[in-house]
């Protein structure tokens, strides 16, 4: 009988077990006078506010231990909120931000560094996300020196350079030099947002800063080393779709692997390769029903017999391979047994086991894996016997 079973392949288990690295993030907001400009509607300050909203949501959802903090760079660099998971506190501070003074980039970064240095959980990787919406006064040399210091202390930095004048002035080259110094194996990014009708938060969400491959996440973005944080562009609910998108991706990979897996043991079978197992079982059930119909009809009037024969003929012509497939499928103990074996085979692969165990932090030699597998097999054996008996 048809039984739906979640088919989980090795690749998709790896994807599901993958977690975004835990981070302590410090967001540096530009609240200088330049933020009154309306080139991002309604003005730059509010555009930043929305983006920071998304960033904090995304970071806290991607890992349960990540924290986000906030500081403003206008006038004197001031820490408004130390790295926390309490988004309510963060948002309320964010709302109170007023425009004042001029930004000092270097002072802002150094303050962020200090705030992250004293984080409670040492395992969190420190990250600084800076919004640059005004021209940078410091020279390239000072920025490079700062970048080198950050890299030494293993800080990651993401810079968002936005604003009409900042697309053309020396900001771009200064920040490029800075990011080159800080970058350690692509953990740091520079995002230049040119002036235009687009929304600042959309541009940031679809950038590598929040884990998406550049040029938006058209279709399914492949999980990069930065994390499996898939999201649609825009909308507050963007981060909610992460897990669903991830699951859909995982299922798609497992379907493909299922098809590949079927090719190997089924060299004797003719055409079933292209069709996933669910479809196969449906057809099998359908065929069985029709068979029963045909048999019962022989006792009835000729008309009905003829009708049935016509149907049978048309079916035969349409899908010739289905018949062959159904004969062989009927001979098995049902697709269910196959799925169990597949799962067990996956678990028997040593490389996969090693990966699984490493991810849980347990020492390999201390577990008797064979014992666990044997125990599982005994269980499966019992279940299968029960099925055969009931059939």
């Amino acid at each position: 009988k048809f039984r739906a079973r979640p088919f989980v392949s090795r690749a998709c288990v790896r994807v599901l077990l993958f977690k975004m690295p835990l981070e302590a993030v410090m967001v540096c907001m530009d609240n200088s006078e330049f933020q009154r400009n309306g080139d991002y509607s309604p003005n730059r300050l509010i555009a930043q506010r929305e983006t920071i909203n998304h960033i904090s949501l995304s970071k806290t959802e991607s890992n349960q231990e990540s924290t986000v903090g906030l500081l403003t760079m206008g006038g004197r660099a001031k820490v408004l909120c130390a790295p926390t998971r309490n988004l309510g506190a963060l948002m309320s501070e964010l709302k109170e931000v007023k425009i004042q003074g001029q930004c000092d980039f270097v002072a802002g970064i150094k303050t962020a560094q200090l705030a992250l240095k004293n984080r409670q959980n040492k395992n969190q990787h420190p990250r600084i996300i800076v919004f640059v919406g005004s021209p940078i006064e410091a020279d390239t040399k000072a920025l490079e020196k700062l970048g080198g210091q950050l890299k030494k202390n293993s800080f990651a930095v993401d810079v968002i350079n936005f604003g009409k004048e900042n697309a053309q002035n020396t900001n771009v080259e200064k920040l490029e030099a800075f990011i080159n110094k800080v970058n350690n194996e692509s953990n740091s990014h520079l995002l230049n947002v040119p002036p235009g009708p687009h929304i600042l938060s959309d541009m940031v969400i679809s950038s590598p800063i929040l884990g998406n491959a550049s040029h938006g996440g058209a279709g399914m973005a492949v999980p990069s080393s930065g994390g499996a944080n898939l999201s649609n562009g825009g909308g507050v609910g963007a981060a909610d779709n992460t897990e669903e998108a991830l699951l859909a991706y995982a299922l798609r990979i497992s379907m493909e692997e299922a098809r590949d897996a079927q090719q190997r043991p089924e060299e004797s079978k003719e055409e079933s390769k292209a069709e996933p197992m669910a479809e196969e079982k449906k057809d099998e059930a359908k065929k069985e029903d029709q068979k029963m119909e045909l048999e019962g009809v022989d006792d009835d009037a000729d008309e009905e017999a003829e009708l049935a024969r016509a149907m049978a003929l048309s079916m035969a012509m349409d899908d010739e391979d289905e018949e062959a497939e159904e004969k062989e499928a009927g001979g098995e103990t049902g697709g269910g047994g196959e799925v169990d074996d597949e799962i067990l085979q996956v678990f028997k692969e040593e490389a996969f086991i090693e990966d699984l165990i490493d991810s849980t932090g347990v020492q390999k030699d201390d577990i008797d894996i064979q014992k666990i597998l044997d125990f599982n097999e005994k269980d499966e054996g019992k279940k299968e016997d029960k099925d055969k008996g009931s059939k």
Binding site: K117, G148, K152, N153, N184, G361
Partner: protein, 195 residues
């Protein structure tokens, strides 16, 4: 004539005690919780602390942006440190190290400015493999649960500092003669849940 003087065989009590006192504390290092700031990612700290081929040429720790390193190790239990041994190439190996016992949040600025628990000059001879471990001021290393090692530079003023292995020595934190057997205590110090 007097009685013949029988000489009692000298029991080697003192030397066995010294051996106990001077054990490689590698098994008490926390295998998951260690960090080396400014190290090249491909040459992790684990190369230098653990592994059978520790003294192998390829398993080294190399510094990244400049020649300084800040290494932090954690111990599973509170230990007393008597000596430390660093093996490194004599040209680009550390010229001195500053040790910090149980530091709070330490970064490169802090490591340079603050006085450590002890600062040690390393001569090229000390860096050769098999060299004598360097004695520490034992009094200051009585309750060590984590240790930071700051390397300010190397002998040749080279861009990269390379370390091959680091070893810690001290009395075994396991007390002989207390109720659970030695094997049980060792197992306990490696993590109860593994039993």
């Amino acid at each position: 004539a007097g009685k013949p003087v029988t000489r009692r065989k000298k029991t080697h009590k003192r030397s066995t005690k010294m051996a106990e006192d001077f054990q490689d504390l590698q098994e008490f290092l926390d295998r998951k919780n260690h960090e080396a700031l400014n190290a090249v990612k491909q040459t992790p700290l684990a190369n230098v602390l653990f592994g059978k081929d520790r003294d192998d040429e390829k398993k080294i720790l190399k510094s990244d942006s400049d020649e300084q390193l800040l290494i932090t190790v954690n111990f599973n239990t509170v230990v007393k440190l008597k000596a430390i041994q660093i093996t490194a190439p004599t040209d680009c190996g550390p010229s001195s190290v500053k040790l910090f016992v149980n530091p709070g949040n330490l970064d490169f600025d802090g490591a340079e400015d603050e006085d450590g628990t002890q600062e040690i000059e390393l001569k090229p001879d000390d860096l050769k493999s098999g060299a004598k471990p360097i004695r520490l001021k034992f009094v200051k290393f009585q309750k060590v649960s984590n240790l930071s090692i700051f390397v300010p530079g190397n002998h040749d003023e080279a861009e990269e500092t390379i370390i091959q292995s680091i070893r810690f020595f001290g009395p075994s934190p396991i007390i002989e003669g207390s109720k659970p057997s030695l094997a049980q205590q060792k197992a306990a110090s490696q993590g109860d849940w593994l039993n």
